[in-house]
């Protein structure tokens, strides 16, 4: 590999180097951190958030926002838990699972229709969805719901056999691979990038922008509802503010992972790196016994640094390529 290629490789995968440096730094300070369980916890603790980050990333790549990812996760699981506990007790778990996915799909469709067809600003549209569905959760759920079928706890709460590998981590990896294939290898993926880069140019190329955007929000809804499943399993219940504190982290994870806020750029390997960074910080700061009053600030410092580095990544890449061309 030539020096130029190495530089490009480094810049393309900067988030992974940042993660590596952070882990090495944390381990140097606290060698006790280096246990398989701690390392797996770093990704397990953010696996449910990871699904929402992936959902957010797809929407961001298309040049939109989705403030309702957490609300979709919450309402999908609330519907499931209410049906299971009060509505139709005894409903098979797989029916509940389909119901959960349908709720996610339905709300995604609703968001997509309003944004793509009725041309409502995505920020305002999804803000409305966020507020409405968190409110609706409270009306139909009323309180934290604890009765869920065991099968629906497994994805977020169980480990594989006697191993230390949580099911949620595997789900996150599998879903990430699927999203990667969808974005990088399918025509829908290419359309999403095209719409996010330049909507009018995409239209001129014959891409149905409206249809693509509806798909984007449907995908976001589906991924969010799966995220809700993992949240519920992780906490063994459905809280009435499920995923609510994580909304800003969905943006942070995607942007740190190299997704452009104005659309058209971002890849799953980077997004996965961004998700991992959030987990490294979460577990690392606890193990390092960071004073609780400092926790938020330390998180902020690393996030700002990562965002800066990733922002300059594109410019640096251009600089390296230009230099090699001359």
């Amino acid at each position: 590999m030539t020096s130029k290629k190495l530089q490009i490789f480094f810049l393309d995968n900067m988030i992974w180097f940042i993660n590596l440096v952070l882990v090495v730094l944390f381990v140097a300070i606290e060698p006790g951190l280096l246990t398989p369980k701690n390392l797996i916890s770093m990704i397990y603790s953010v696996s449910m958030l990871g699904l929402l980050v992936l959902a957010q990333a797809i929407v961001l790549i298309s040049g939109n926002f989705d403030l309702s990812v957490g609300a979709i996760a919450g309402i999908a699981m609330t519907v499931v838990a209410v049906v299971h506990e009060f509505g139709m007790p005894g409903t098979p778990w797989w029916v509940l699972l389909i119901m959960m996915l349908l709720v996610g799909t339905g709300i995604g469709l609703y968001n997509g229709f309003f944004v793509a067809v009725l041309k409502i600003n995505p920020f305002l549209q999804t803000l409305g969805t966020y507020t409405f569905f968190y409110g609706l959760m409270l009306i139909i759920g009323k309180r934290t719901l604890f009765k869920l079928p065991k099968a629906l706890i497994i994805p977020g709460g169980a480990r594989f056999g006697g191993s230390i590998v949580p099911v949620a981590v595997v789900i996150l990896i599998v879903v990430s691979v699927i999203v990667h294939i969808l974005l990088a290898k399918t025509s829908l993926g290419r359309k999403i990038y095209a719409v996010g880069s330049n909507r009018e140019a995409a239209r001129a190329c014959g891409i149905s922008v409206e249809k693509t955007l509806i798909w984007v929000f449907v995908l976001s809804g589906i991924l969010s509802s799966i995220g809700g499943l993992l949240y519920a399993g992780y906490m063994n219940c459905v809280t009435m503010d499920l995923a609510r504190p994580d909304l800003f982290l969905t943006f942070a994870g995607a942007i740190i992972g190299g997704v452009a806020l104005d659309g058209g750029r971002g890849k799953v390997s980077g997004i996965f790196g961004g998700i991992l960074l959030l987990g490294i910080m979460q577990i690392g700061l606890t193990i390092l016994k960071t004073p609780p009053t400092w926790r938020e600030t330390m998180n902020g410092i690393v996030l700002i640094a990562a965002i800066l580095l990733n922002t300059y990544q594109t410019r640096l890449k251009g600089y390296v390529l230009a230099k090699s061309a001359t």
Partner: protein, 393 residues
């Protein structure tokens, strides 16, 4: 050039970050190394719901100061009002082989059970304080006062005041609720509601503050302006109480006791700001006050007992614990303050067998009624913490 600048910046940032983190790690070590005896030192964690909070900081401090003064290692973290975050921290602590016990404020109730179970599976001693986590046999014991009962008792007193005013139990009451997503707050609200609903002549108007003092000002203000007459306001928690008092003042309806226009004003939790001054002015009739600084000191005392002598060292159900029975006092670790905490207002504490209901015993502390006759008591946690500049965590 640009590349060099960026690399330099990265290196500086990494050094700064590493330096700060190392400083945290070493200062943690120094703190305990200086004070701790070489053997018999225990490593204990306190898990509050939210650290930078005028309620949870003293709540944490009670145990933190006590354990530190006794020479033990003590750590805490911030869950930032987030039960998922709390579960993650508890699960991470479960993997720490040095950590022996955790005292948890499971404000999210059963939502925190996965974290608690992880701790128990890892063999840690688990104590709950402030509130329960549903049925939780994984916890060895719980220290708290009966907050739903406290709210019920407070509301009964309000009913009595209304009876005195009208000759019968009637009137309009604004009931300020906290976080309706939170089981603890729901139970408190149910306690107050039950007392009022026993009297059909009393009409309740409820609002939800989401534990936001600002929202409580708006909601109370709106009700005060809209309802033709309000006889009493009652709050189930500190932040909404602060908002309700501010609303009374802003609507120019804050009249002291004795004034015919006085609106009965009662709530849960004292506070050095807003609430205590309003008690002093006579705007607030009384406050139902929890022994915040005592919860974790008591919990830490019994956690140490379990670690040193086994679970059999826990007090038996029916035992009444008096201040002289336990050594839970410590000095506030601030040079210019000569204050010993906690005061004895937590006593007597009675031990209940709640194994069937909660899966462990309950050390039920007392609570205090604060009014204009005792609001200046320097032993009140709110008067102590008003002077504390740095809690040390």
């Amino acid at each position: 050039m640009k590349q060099r600048k960026l690399v330099t910046l990265c290196v500086i940032a990494a050094f700064l970050f590493a330096g700060t983190m190392s400083a945290f790690a070493s200062s943690e070590g120094e703190k305990t190394a200086k004070k701790a005896a070489p053997s018999g030192v225990h490593d204990i964690a306190i898990m509050p719901f939210h650290i930078p909070c005028m309620w949870f900081s003293p709540f944490t401090a009670g145990g933190y100061w006590y354990l530190q003064e006794k020479g033990h290692k003590v750590r805490t973290q911030n869950a930032g009002w987030d039960t998922k975050q709390m579960n993650t921290i508890l699960k991470t602590w479960a993997e720490d082989p040095n950590l022996e016990a955790v005292i948890i404020a499971p404000l999210g109730g059963e939502e925190v059970l996965p974290g608690i179970r992880a701790l128990k599976q890892a063999g840690k001693v688990v104590a709950l304080s402030n509130n329960e986590a549903g049925y939780c046999p994984e916890a060895d014991f719980c220290v708290r006062f009966d907050s739903p009962q406290g709210c019920y008792d407070g509301a009964v007193e309000v009913v009595k005041m209304l009876e005195k005013k009208y000759g019968e139990a009637k009137g309009v009451v604004i009931l300020g609720l906290g976080d309706v997503r939170n089981s603890e707050h729901l139970e408190r609200a149910a306690g107050a509601r039950k007392a009022f609903e026993e009297h059909p002549g009393i009409k309740i108007h409820e609002f939800v503050s989401d534990m936001d003092a600002g929202k409580a000002v708006t909601e109370t203000g709106t009700l005060l302006r809209t309802l033709p007459k309000v006889d009493a306001v009652f709050s189930v928690g500190m932040l909404e109480f602060m908002g309700m008092i501010n609303a009374l003042k802003r609507e120019e309806m804050a009249f002291p006791k004795g004034n015919p226009k006085h609106i009965i004003c009662v709530g849960m939790d004292s506070c050095p700001d807003v609430i205590n001054p309003a008690v002093k002015e006579g705007i607030v009739d009384f406050v139902i006050d929890q022994p915040v600084l005592s919860y974790n000191a008591l919990a830490a005392y019994y956690v140490l007992k379990i670690l040193d002598e086994g679970k059999g060292a826990l007090p038996k159900p029916g035992t009444v614990i008096q201040p002289g029975d336990v050594d839970i006092k410590s000095k506030v670790p601030q040079k210019d303050l000569d204050i010993t905490v906690p005061a004895d207002m937590w006593a007597p504490a009675k031990v209940f067998d709640t194994n069937k209901q909660f899966g462990h015993i309950w050390i039920k502390t007392n609570y205090s009624i604060i009014d204009d006759t005792n609001v200046d008591n320097p032993a009140l946690w709110s008067n102590i913490t008003g002077q504390v500049r740095d809690y040390g965590f």
